[in-house]
């Protein structure tokens, strides 16, 4: 067979990735969740994952909302654990935005500054902030998450 081209080269083009995979966006979400939804700006890893998962899409948001509004009786869906959030948490710790104390993430001063900067001019992040404000500090507590977790365990046992 005759080849028309002597040499073919491929060059890799940059691809579009979802904003959730952007470090700055994820870190901003971590700061917002810790400050708005956690007592003492302190949270367990599982709770961060739950809220982060909810923020991923409108369907997820609605499902969590339904669960809360039904007084936690509506059968709770399982939520996803996103490895990228773990990476973002690692970055945040090294940026000194938050630190780990007794297995919980707690917001540091730099994180507070970042938070005030974001809230001063939220613009495109309004939807996230509104949802987090709806959740507030009391609706999703670590105890609540633990009990859901236990329920799953017993169901699967």
């Amino acid at each position: 067979m005759e080849l028309y081209a002597e040499k073919i080269t491929f060059s890799k083009k940059p691809i579009s990735i979802p904003p959730e995979y952007r470090p700055s966006y994820s870190i901003a979400l971590i700061v917002l969740i810790l400050k708005i939804c956690c007592q003492g700006s302190k949270s367990s890893l599982l709770k961060l994952h739950l809220i982060n998962w909810a923020l991923k899409s409108n369907e997820n948001k609605d499902s969590l909302k339904k669960f809360v509004l039904s007084n936690y009786t509506e059968s709770s869906k399982t939520w996803g654990i996103e490895p990228s959030l773990n990476r973002a948490l690692n970055y945040s710790v090294h940026e000194e935005i938050c630190s780990i104390e007794n297995g919980k993430y707690i917001l540091l001063e730099k994180g507070e500054i970042f938070f005030s900067k974001i809230v001063e001019n939220p613009e495109f992040l309004n939807e996230e902030i509104d949802f987090l404000n709806f959740l507030g500090k009391r609706k999703i507590t670590d105890n609540r998450i633990d009990s859901i977790f236990k329920k799953w365990k017993s169901q699967n046992a």
């Binding site: 691809i15 966006y25 901003a28 970055y91 970042f114």
Partner: protein
């Protein structure tokens, strides 16, 4: 007057300082250099220093040749990379005021929209005061303090007129636009008159420039003319809208519109505009149609009603025919309604995608914003570095094993916006498709119902008592009566619409009359004199340069845009000179036109800056003889300055032949323009 005294180019490379220095005098200056010697770089550097680089086809330093921004080649095949470079241009005005302009081409820490102006000759006195000014920036031409072109306008003692833009706003002509009348660039400058002029939404820009250069009185009247042009456009729009209403109206009555054009015209006889309605396969105007229907109704009422018995045979035939039609239509309905369901499904898919994309776009914008905020509080991730090891992290949280390079955030935002736009176009076209199919479906269903009830009536009649009057017949009469009512009202509404049309027609007539009147008294006595002088100069120069595509007598200057026109022999038809000139003759006509603008302005006290710049005017294998004539003509412009850049076919012989007996100042570029500076 704008006179260029000298130009200095400094290029710092990794192997020392390189540069060039050239001085120019009044009268004819010839810059001679072989091809690729850097002749055009010198031309462009002058244009760049004046901030006119849009004439070369762009803005800022990217318009410059690589010798000023990337690498210097000297001697051949030895390259030095450019670290920093700038142009220093010394210019003088009519009062003998001198300023020196410095503009950087390559300098990592300075934007190229900045220009330094030194008040005086920097080559004579190097401790001059300078002031930074802006160019091309918003306000580059209007900021009182720092706009360089505003300053240049004052320096040249010009008062640039305000002109109407396409949007109907008043705005000053830009200096760059005027420059295209006296600076002819090599690559596209020879392709048309004012070929390199930036547009800036200006109407009939060539004409405005010539009016300014020759300082014509026509300006005020031209303004009126432009205002008229705008009301003309508005009327055209109104007309089009009314036309659409007519079309919809016609559709409602199920007829055909005649006599109305999409564009405004004077309508003398409103009766010409009508809607044709068809009856028994011939078309009738509305009133005729109405007469026909009324007539039919009256005659039907006169005769006695037909009884069922008389019609049995006809009815049976009719039933068969109607049923055939009904089958066809039912089939069509089936087809279209399934297509419609498919399209609607597709549309809801698209809408879902669009929603997701919009959400993605919003989040990306948010990410972009917080990234900037992060940089403000010194987050390393905002600069794409890992906070603990400082390695690059690609702006993503994907595991390192995923060997994909993500787009930068701003690119990602552009990417998503483009996708959204594409999707919106798709949705729009799908929606219009759905609407038209829906309409068709409704139409077909209506027909279906009609046919069914007709068949039903016919069948009913067949089974009813023979002696009874025919129901079908009675229904037909009722139908006629309804139609008479509908079309009587229709005719009334049509007359109202026509009244609106006649109003627009009257307005249109007024506009045309005003236009005609303005045409007559646009030019003052002075203007006519100037235009005549421009025409005479142009013609005499054409014959001097041996223009031969047309007889010189058939050439004129347009009253509209002042560009040369050629006339067909024995006919009054005129058209752009370009269409009837050979390539070399067209170059001759650009020589002649550029020169005659100067000559006319200088004889009649116009605004020409008395500077002419030509890059490689010997285009298209023009003969040396004609070129010499051109040089000779230029050398007589003693009170002006001409900078002429040419290669003379890289030959000494051509050069001495072309310049024989001509007085000029020579700048010879030996080997290369940019050379080491001792």
């Amino acid at each position: 007057m704008l006179k260029i005294n000298n130009i200095k180019i400094d290029v710092n490379t990794n192997n020392g300082l390189f540069g060039a220095f050239h001085t120019f005098k009044s009268g004819l200056n010839i810059v001679r250099g072989n091809n690729t010697s850097g002749k055009s770089s010198l031309f462009q550097a002058i244009v760049y220093a004046l901030g006119f680089e849009e004439l070369i086809g762009g803005r800022f330093e990217k318009t410059m040749q690589s010798v000023l921004k990337d690498q210097v080649e000297y001697p051949k095949n030895t390259f030095h990379s450019v670290l920093q470079s700038f142009v220093l241009l010394e210019i003088e005005n009519t009062n003998g005021d001198i300023i020196t302009i410095r503009r950087f081409v390559q300098n990592p820490n300075r934007k190229s929209q900045l220009i330094d102006v030194y008040f005086g000759s920097l080559s004579a006195n190097d401790s001059l005061e300078s002031r930074p000014m802006f160019i091309h920036d918003n306000g580059g031409a209007s900021d009182e303090n720092y706009g360089f072109h505003l300053y240049l306008e004052e320096f040249l003692n010009w008062e640039l007129p305000k002109v109407l833009t396409n949007k109907g706003e008043l705005r000053k002509i830009y200096v760059q636009q005027i420059a295209s009348s006296f600076i002819i660039e090599q690559k596209s400058g020879w392709s048309d008159f004012f070929a390199t002029m930036p547009i800036y939404g200006l109407n009939n820009k060539e004409a405005r420039i010539v009016e300014f250069i020759l300082d014509m009185d026509v300006y005020g009247n031209k303004m009126k003319k432009q205002e008229l042009g705008i009301s003309k456009r508005i009327l055209e729009n109104d007309w089009l809208n009314l036309n659409k209403r007519f079309e919809r109206f016609t559709e409602k009555g199920g007829g055909k519109l005649i006599g109305l054009s999409q564009y405004p015209m004077i309508i003398n006889n409103l009766e010409e505009i009508n809607i044709l309605l068809s009856k028994d396969e011939t078309d009738h105007s509305i009133s005729n149609y109405l007469d026909l229907v009324i007539n039919e109704f009256d005659t039907l009422n006169l005769i006695e009603t037909v009884s069922v018995k008389d019609k049995v045979g006809d009815n049976e035939n009719l039933i068969v025919k109607n049923e055939e039609k009904l089958n066809q239509i039912s089939f069509d309905v089936e087809m279209i309604s399934s297509e419609l369901t498919f399209d609607q499904q597709k549309l809801s898919n698209f809408n879902y995608q669009l929603e997701n994309l919009n959400e993605d776009l919003r989040k990306n914008k948010g990410a972009f914003k917080v990234q900037k905020m992060g940089a403000e509080i010194d987050l390393k991730v905002s600069e794409n570095n890992c906070p603990s090891c400082n390695q690059e992290i690609n702006d993503s949280l994907l595991p390192l094993s995923v060997k994909q390079v993500p787009m930068r955030l701003d690119d990602n935002i552009d990417f998503l916006s483009a996708q959204i736009k594409m999707l919106q176009v798709n949705i729009e076209s799908l929606e219009s498709k759905i609407i038209s199919k829906d309409k068709k479906l409704k139409n077909l269903r209506g027909l279906q119902n009609n046919l069914r009830s007709q068949i039903r009536e016919l069948k009913k009649e067949l089974t009813s008592d023979d002696r009874l009057p025919s129901i079908v017949d009675i229904e037909y009469r009722l139908n006629l009566k309804k139609r008479i009512e509908f079309y009587s009202k229709y005719l009334e509404d049509f007359t109202e619409l026509k009244d609106e049309l006649s109003l627009l027609s009257i307005k249109w007539k007024k506009i045309l009359e005003d236009q005609e009147k303005l045409k007559k008294d646009t030019f003052s006595v002075n203007d006519i004199d100037k235009l005549k002088s421009l025409t005479d100069n142009f013609k005499s120069l054409l014959s001097k340069f041996n223009y031969s595509s047309k007889t010189i007598n058939d050439i004129a200057i347009s009253d509209e845009n002042y560009l040369p026109l050629a006339k067909k022999p024995n006919d009054n038809l005129v058209y752009n000179i370009r269409f009837d000139s050979s390539a070399s003759d067209f170059v001759r006509s650009i020589w002649a036109y550029t020169c005659s603008l100067y000559k006319t302005s200088s004889a009649k006290n116009g605004n020409h800056p008395n500077l002419l710049m030509f890059d490689e005017p010997k285009q298209q294998d023009l003969s040396i003889n004609d070129f010499t004539n051109f040089l000779k003509e230029l050398s007589t412009y003693k009170s002006a300055q001409t900078l002429l850049f040419a290669s003379f076919e890289n030959s000494d012989e051509t050069f001495s032949k072309a310049t024989d007996g001509i007085e000029f100042h020579l700048n010879y570029i030996n080997e290369k323009l940019i050379k080491p500076v001792e």
